[in-house]
Each structure stands twice: as C-alpha cells, then as structure tokens.
Amino acid sequence: MSDSTGKSDGKLLDVKDLKIYYPIHAGVFLKKVGDVKAVDGVSFTVKEGETLGLVGESGCGKTTVGKGIMRLVDVTSGTIDFTTKAGETIDVVPLDRGSMRPIRAEVQMIYQDPFSSLNPRWSVGDIIAEPLGVHMPELSGKERDDKVAWLLEKVGLRGEQAGRYPHEFSGGQRQRVGIARALATAPRLVLADEPVSALDVSIQAQVVNLMQDLQEEFGLTYLFIAHDLSVVEHISHRIAVMYLGNLVEIGPAREVYSNPIHPYTRALISAVPLPEPSMGRPDRQRLVGEVPSPLNKPSGCPFRTRCPLAVESCAGDLPPLIEVAPDRQVACPVVAGDSASGA
C-alpha cells in the first residue's frame, strides 16, 4: 500500500502499469503454459470531476480494466491508487475484501446490460437499498426508504416505483435504476461500463444527459468505458484508446477525435459512420484483417500486424506512451516524432 501522500494534484485515480493476466493451463497435469494478457501494462490517471473515456474494440481489455479497478477480477501486477474522501491515497491492489469494503462505497459501477444487471427477483427499491445496507447500516428502515425514493427521483423515476420489479421497466428505465444503485453510497468515482450501448438510440441521449447532469450535481468523476466513439467523444473530457490490452493513445477528447495520431486511433475514428449523407467518406482508412487473439499477441507493438505504417522496429519492444503535446500521449514512435515536432 503506497502511503498517503496527501492530495495528489487532483488525481482521483492513478493507475500505473496495470496488468491483468489469465493463466492458461494445458497438458496432462494442467501445468500453466502461458497467460492471456487481457490488460498488459496500462497506466492512466483520472482527475477529480472529469470524465475519462476508455474506448476500444471488443476484447481489447477496456472492461477488464474497469473490473480490475473494482477488484472484480484479480490484478496480476501494477498499482491502482485511489484518493479517498479523507484525502488518503490508497493502492487498492493489495487490499483484501474487508479493507476494500470502505473504498467500494466511493467507487461504483454502472453496467452494460440493463437486463442482467438487476436481479429479476428483487424490487428496484431493494436493489437500490442493498449497497446502503452494506455501507450505511445505521440507517433506519424509514430513512433508507426515503433515500431510495430520493435516488429514484434523482434519476428521473418516481419514488413510488420502488416497489416495482425490473421487468416492469423499459431498458432505459432499468439503466436509470442501475445508475441510482451506483449513486446510493454517494461515490466519487463511477465506472460506467458501456452504459448506453444496449439502449435504443432515442433513449441513449436521455441517459447520457442524465449522467452529465448527475456529474454536475454531485461532482462525480467518470471512467466511461465504451466502444461507441461518438458517445464517448460527447461525454468525455479526455479519451484513452486501447488496443489488445494496451493503451495506444490518450488525450483531450476533442483533439483525439479531430486529430488522431496513432494509426489505430485514426483507423478507428475514420471507421465511425456519421449521420451525414452528403459527406461521403473518401478519407476512410480501411484496416485489414482482424484483431489478433490475445492468446497469441504479436510481439512489440500489438497493432503492427494491421498497421499501415508498421516498420521492422515495431516488432521489438512494446512502444511506451510518448508525450507528444501537453496532456497528450501516443504509443507509437513512428508517428510520435512527427506529431511532437509538428505540435
């Protein structure tokens, strides 16, 4: 546990060299023969009150990062420093379940699937009250009910709906219930794991707005994990792009979107369709091939097998994140040099 170093310049979350591996067992005696490197040395910080968007395609490890921070999966190595309300900076990686519990009140998660994230056998009131029961056992039944009603109102539902069950709600409403549950313990950091991707287009906007309103009202910090770049760009202050377990680019949302540097980011952004028929996409960069399996990740830069700019040296070491502009890092030595000089 890293000792408390006081307020670390507004950093709420500081993830350093996070690695999450899943062992592969094989052979007659099931010896460990290797690892699936789901997250392979990811470092980033989240400042208090901001929204960091974490994007990438499926299987890139973005959800695993979120679950690692929540300690829902075992972290192989690295540090996750979280600054608590009291101002202490605590590394949550070595914590056991007991000492993790108080931190859980301050870090909550919103899940992707509004159907599976609510227990179908529980009323939404009970669902929202459960974290309250863990972290504020001192509340009386009445107080708890009031709090649940208040939370329901906050997320745009009605307090008297607490007695209803999830199946009586539509997808968007369920996602609101999920948000209310996440807010029950007054967290400071909310990890939103694809919170809108299962929702209808007309409902997505409602939920995104709600999340922004709540951020303003409660001063929340979001780690917004998603694959939909346009939504991420809209809600985030900064964006981090992941590919195959590594961060490839991180920077302010607008800049990353309008001026992507890493070849993967470029391809990703140019692949996003736009609701603008007149435009056409002559500039579209086409990526060849498929994402390699994390079981046999390419050496060096993981993107080199599909990269249009790949050079021989890419196969060497994993390229580190290079600062190309203030608050802007890219893990590609090939392009970083140009941009840094250009910037």
Partner: protein
Amino acid sequence: MHGMISYFIRRLLLIPITFVCITFMVYGIMRLSPGGPIEQARTQMLMAQMQEGGGGAFSQIGELALPQDAIDQLKIYYKLHRSIPVGYMIWLGVWPDDDRGGIFSGIIQGDFGISYRYSDSVLSTIVSKFPISVTFGLIGYLATWIVCIPLGVQKALLHRTWFDMTTSLAVFLGYSIPGFVACLALMLMFGTSLVWDLFPLGGFRSENWNDMWAAGNIWWCIKDQAWHMFIPLVGYVMSGFATMTILMKNSLLDNLGADYVRTAFAKGLSERRVIFLHALRNSMIPICVGIGGAIGLLFAGSFLIEKTCNIPGMGLLGFNSLIERDYPVLMGILVFGVLIRLTGNILSDLILAFIDPRVRFK
C-alpha cells in the same frame, strides 16, 4: 487437438485412482463385516451337526466352537488371516502372496481369484455371463433407439397436437413403471392363464435348446430365443424409453427454434432437409452422448430384470454371489462395474468430441 489428447490421458489416469479407492472401500467393508464366510461356515457346520446329533448341540448354539485349526484353515482359505491393507494389496496383485509361494497374483495379473461357489476362476465366471447380458443390453438399447428417435422427432414436429398429448401420456406411464415391474406385470398377463398364456415365465432359453442347436434345428432355436427374450426386452426398453423420447423431443424443439434453422430456410432449403439434416443432427448430440452411459447397462445387465425373468446374466450372478457371500465374484463384478462406468464416461466425452466440432476439452 493437443489439449484434447492430454485431457483424455488425464481422464484415463484417473481410472486406476478411482478404481483403487472404490475397491479398497468395498474390500474394507467386507472384511470388517460380521457374518463373513467364517460365520457362514460355522452355521453350515452347525446345521450339519444338528442333523446328525439331533438337538444335542442346541444348547450351545451361541458359543459353538469350531476347532481352532479348522478356523485357521478357513481363514487361510478365505484369505482373512492378514491385515486389511495387506490382504487388499494381495488381492490387487502388488504384494507377494505367501500362501502361494510368494508370487504376485491379483487383479493386475488378471487373476481375480477363485469363486467360492463355482470353484472356478472369477474371471471366467464373469466372462461366461457376458454374452447373455450383452445380448439383452444391446438389443434392448437398439430397440430403444429405434422406437424413441422417430417417436421423439414426431412428437417435436407435432408439438401440442393430439398425437403429442396422447403419446406423452403413454410415455409418462412407461416412465412410472420400473422395467422389472413391467416384466412382472407382463409375465402375469402373458405368462399365466390370467389373460393370455403366450410367453414363458422367465428363463433365457428352453432347457433343450442346446440339444436342438446341436441337432441343427436353428429356426426353432431362434424362435425359442425370441420367445424367451420378449418380456425382458420390454423391461429393458422401458427403463430408457421415456427419458430418451423426451430428450429427443425437447432437443429437437430447441433446435427447430434456433437461428441457424432460420438461415437454412432463408437459403431456400426444403423443410425435410432443414429438419433432418440441420436440426436433427444438432439435436442428436445429447442423445449420442448418452451412449457412454448406456455401456454400463450393456455389460453389467440389470439385477432387477435378470432376477425377475430368471436370466442367468451378470446381474443375476451378482445377486446370487451377494446372497451366497461369494466375495471374490462380488469384488470381481464390482470391479467390472466401476471400470465399465468409468470407460463409459470417457467414451461419452470421446463421442461428444467426435460429433460436436465446437467441443474442446482442456
């Protein structure tokens, strides 16, 4: 592929471990049990004395003393004079048997010992019963398939129709009558004069079957065999009938609603082709996997049906050896039972790996 091989090697390695655990447990239970062979010999001797000397020995029934040397002899005969682990290891064949000049002789040498009752080697006693049990098991299983697969398919295709409802009632009635009870009821109905005296009351063949066979009266032999086999076969079929039919039906129903069936229709394939080539093949997977489990029934026979219909197969042998406390045979049968089931499990996995390309064991 490599992973699969090591998976199966691992499974095979588990067989001896399992085998040792189970047989040791049973050996221990038998050795520790009261009423073992010595006790039986004592009772037999007592009976003999009573018949000879009238009520003379009656008074001392409790403490009837066999001469000590007779007991010792018996103990050696039954190999009870050693501690349980040593006795077990001799039986297993990994410990020298001093009584037979210190040779290694036991299961792993293929020596299962000598049956107390048949005074024949256990192995040959058991193997001699194989054909009978396998005949019944195999024909019964085949008959089950022949009846159940078409019935299940038809029930799935006519789900919730009159046909489905009525056959369901019959299938569930079959499920609620254990096979041996069905045999008993059939024997009552068609083996006695109650309804129609049509079939024999048990037995594997008529007594003069071998003579007729020798006389070359083959047609008569076949008829006689079938005549005897009918009722027990119904019992065999009955035991797996309902499960397999319903499994077939539900499995096909699930697959008929699958997306790939829609794709197949979207390709313009005929209904027959979609059902019988696409959906049926997938729904046969759980049924084929059951073959491994059925192996046990094939070889081990059924105590209940063999006892009911008086068929001298493996099941009846096991039952009789239990009644007569013929421990070597008992252990032998248990060993076979366990081995067959374990092999059956692995066979199930192999079949699954063979017919379902998705399956990857690790």
